[in-house]
């Protein structure tokens, strides 16, 4: 197990190397000149050239890449062109609301979706099943920003029971933070809930037709034990896999939702950086999120062992 974790961590290196190359190339082939953006609309071309040289943008691409990479390896993600703040600092500052938002969305989604999927599978073909799966299709096909604005309108504006803008920060206490994250978390999680509920249902249905479920019924076990112990534990692997895959969906939702609800997180940082062509920030965010994604997938693989004794690393 420890050996496996170490091997997997070593495999992060080539993956991240590829990510750095892709990030670097994408940031240089796109339209727009960061130096021109930085010096502003009224700068002369000589001024722009000077800025380019100061930023090292006039050097060969390969040289630029390796000097950037060497900085990265020293933990230096560069300086924001726009705010002149170290990128790492910006990311750390924005990380808190994003982490909390993602975690809240993830936890509530799983807590809602798994019971829904189990119930739908247990009552497969019934009107409950059809209603739940209909809701799942709706949840899946509603764009995050539409849902976000709808929630903000109903709960924030009409009912006035939950805040719809901003983020108070943990220093103001857990309660206010949770209140401000509730609507965005629901908006982000809707797709995720739908995805997980459907996978849970499908996986449960498959498991429920297995011979060992018949054995459990022949033993006279209560229906809840059969569903929640005998079936769900076997159905867990595809669900966990989908949680890992769905993490990407969740992150893309974070970007949109933070804009809708004016939450100063990584999503907003990214959107602003894209508008400003603040490419060190874009690069930094993509790198950090890629790393988080790779590590999350490792965590997912390790979670399998909790559910299936046949999986050993």
């Amino acid at each position: 197990m420890i050996g496996y974790v170490i091997r997997r961590l070593l495999m992060v290196v080539p993956v991240m190397a590829i990510v750095t190359i892709v990030v670097f190339v994408l940031s240089r082939v796109g339209p727009g000149d960061p130096a021109a953006i930085l010096v502003g609309d009224f700068a002369s071309s000589a001024e722009i050239a000077r800025t380019r040289a100061a930023m090292g943008l006039d050097r060969p691409l390969v040289v630029q890449y390796f000097s950037w990479l060497s900085q990265l390896l020293h933990g230096d993600l560069g300086i924001s062109i726009f705010s002149r703040t170290p990128v790492l600092e910006l990311i750390v500052q924005s990380a808190e609301p994003t982490l909390l938002l993602t975690a809240t969305a993830m936890i509530y989604s799983i807590a809602l979706a798994v019971p829904v999927g189990v119930l739908a599978a247990a009552r497969a073909g019934s009107s409950i099943d059809r209603a739940l799966m209909g809701a799942a299709v709706l949840g899946f096909s509603t764009p995050v920003f539409v849902l976000g604005y709808m929630l903000a309108y109903v709960f924030g504006y009409r009912l006035g029971i939950l805040p719809v803008q901003g983020y108070p920060g943990l220093e103001s206490g857990f309660g206010p933070v949770l209140r401000s994250l509730t609507l965005p978390a629901i908006a982000i999680g809707a797709t995720f809930v739908a995805l997980i509920a459907r996978v849970t249902r499908a996986s449960m249905l498959e498991v429920l037709s297995e011979d060992y479920i018949r054995t459990a019924r022949a033993k006279g076990l209560p229906g809840s034990t059969i569903l929640l112990v005998h079936a769900l534990k076997n159905a867990a692997i595809p669900v966990i896999t989908m949680v890992g895959i769905g993490f990407g969906v969740l992150l893309s939702g974070v970007v949109v939702t933070e804009s809708v609800f004016a939450i100063p997180g990584i999503g907003r940082l990214t959107v602003n950086a894209i508008f400003r062509r603040d490419f060190p920030v874009i690069q930094g965010v993509v790198l950090v999120i890629s790393l988080a994604y790779v590590l999350l997938n490792l965590a997912v693989d390790l979670t399998y062992t909790l559910f299936d004794p046949r999986i050993r690393y």
């Binding site: 073909g125 037709s209 297995e210 011979d211 060992y212 018949r214 054995t215 459990a216 019924r217 022949a218 033993k219 006279g220 076990l221 209560p222 034990t225 112990v229 005998h230 534990k233 076997n234 559910f307 299936d308 004794p309 046949r310």
Partner: protein, 344 residues
């Protein structure tokens, strides 16, 4: 043989006119058709027939565990000792399953839950039906593993099914099934998936447990060799119906139904009393069990029967009693006897 408190003449399990239907409309199949049998405490009843004859559906029908929403069962009588199973609610029925009546299945490789320990799978019946605590149930599980002759039971309890061989898994299945000392144990082809030496060991374990606990054992098999070794009485099934029933000795000495003869002909080792007469008439059984979606008017076996005449395809034969406790459903039962003795 400790008959558990019921009057001596009350069978442990009595089934009368059991019918099982699967599917609906054009896909409707009558898997079991008006099947009756009973088994006494301490007795082994074999139910024998080729694959697809409705043996498993009989077992699942008795336990009311039929697959899918479209499966239906009906019976005029279904009693477990004094208990009328037909009048019970699903919840009452659940409480009896695994406690008073238990079942083991054909496929040891897939019938155990792959992600639960052996301990959990043996003790859960005790914990659910007997409210035993964890350590009491565990102690009982160790005894049970000992009873089914699993070496090193302490270690086995902590293992998962994938760490066990097929034979070991079937022993675990048996241990779990008998954990609450059921009155009736239904074993659906418990050894079919196992190799021959393991088969014999598993049958021995089953018979020992039956003897020690005075259970009624319903042993489902397609193998007359197994019947000869284990059972006192036998029901021969064909296409969902009982075609013959007899004490095992009588059946082998004097089979009445051409289908039974056919099964004996395809048996690898025949009993000593079997001449080569039937082999001459029914060298092998050509054809397969019909799917009962379009019930024909006559005897279901007629298309495969060398003795069939016009009446056999026209009219279904009723079960007729011959000597004591021996019944068969065949218009040509006398011809079967003649053929067997080479008179013809």
């Amino acid at each position: 043989m400790a008959a558990r408190g019921h009057a001596a003449d009350t069978p442990a399990l009595r089934v009368r006119d059991l019918e099982v239907e699967l599917g609906r409309g054009t896909r409707r199949v009558v898997a079991v058709d008006r099947l009756s049998f009973e088994v006494a405490a301490g007795e082994t009843l074999a139910i024998v027939g080729e694959s697809g004859c409705g043996k498993s559906m009989t077992a699942l029908g008795v336990l009311r565990l039929l697959p899918g929403a479209s499966a239906r069962m009906r019976a005029t009588e279904l009693t477990l000792g004094e208990i009328d199973l037909l009048s019970l609610s699903p919840e009452e029925l659940r409480r009896l399953r695994g406690d008073r009546i238990a079942m083991i299945f054909q496929e040891p490789m897939t019938s155990l839950n792959p992600v639960l320990t052996v301990e959990r799978q043996i003790t859960e019946t005790l914990r659910v039906h007997r409210q035993l605590g964890r350590s009491a149930a565990r102690a009982r599980a160790l005894e049970l593993l000992h009873a089914v002759r699993i070496p090193d039971p302490e270690r086995r309890l902590q293992q998962y099914p994938f760490e066990l061989s097929g034979g070991m898994r079937q022993r675990v299945m048996i241990a779990a099934a008998v954990s609450c000392n059921p009155d009736v144990l239904i074993a659906d082809e418990p050894t079919t998936a196992l190799d021959v030496t393991v088969q014999a060991q598993i049958l021995e374990v089953l018979l020992d447990l039956k003897r020690q606990r005075g259970m009624a054992l319903v042993l489902i098999t397609h193998d007359l060799g197994v019947v000869a070794q284990t059972a006192q009485r036998v029901v021969v099934m064909y296409a969902g119906r009982k075609v013959e029933e007899a004490r095992v000795r009588d059946l082998f000495a004097n089979p009445r139904h051409p289908y039974t003869r056919g099964l004996m002909g395809s048996m690898p080792r025949l009993g000593a009393s079997q001449g080569d007469g039937p082999r001459g008439r029914l060298p092998e059984m050509a054809g397969t069990v019909p799917v009962l979606d379009r019930p024909a008017p006559g005897c279901a076996f007629a298309p495969r029967c060398a003795l069939a005449d016009a009446r056999c395809t026209r009219e279904a034969p009723p079960l007729v009693a011959f000597e004591d406790g021996h019944t068969a459903a065949c218009w040509r039962a006398d011809a079967v006897i003649e053929a067997a003795h080479g008179v013809d």
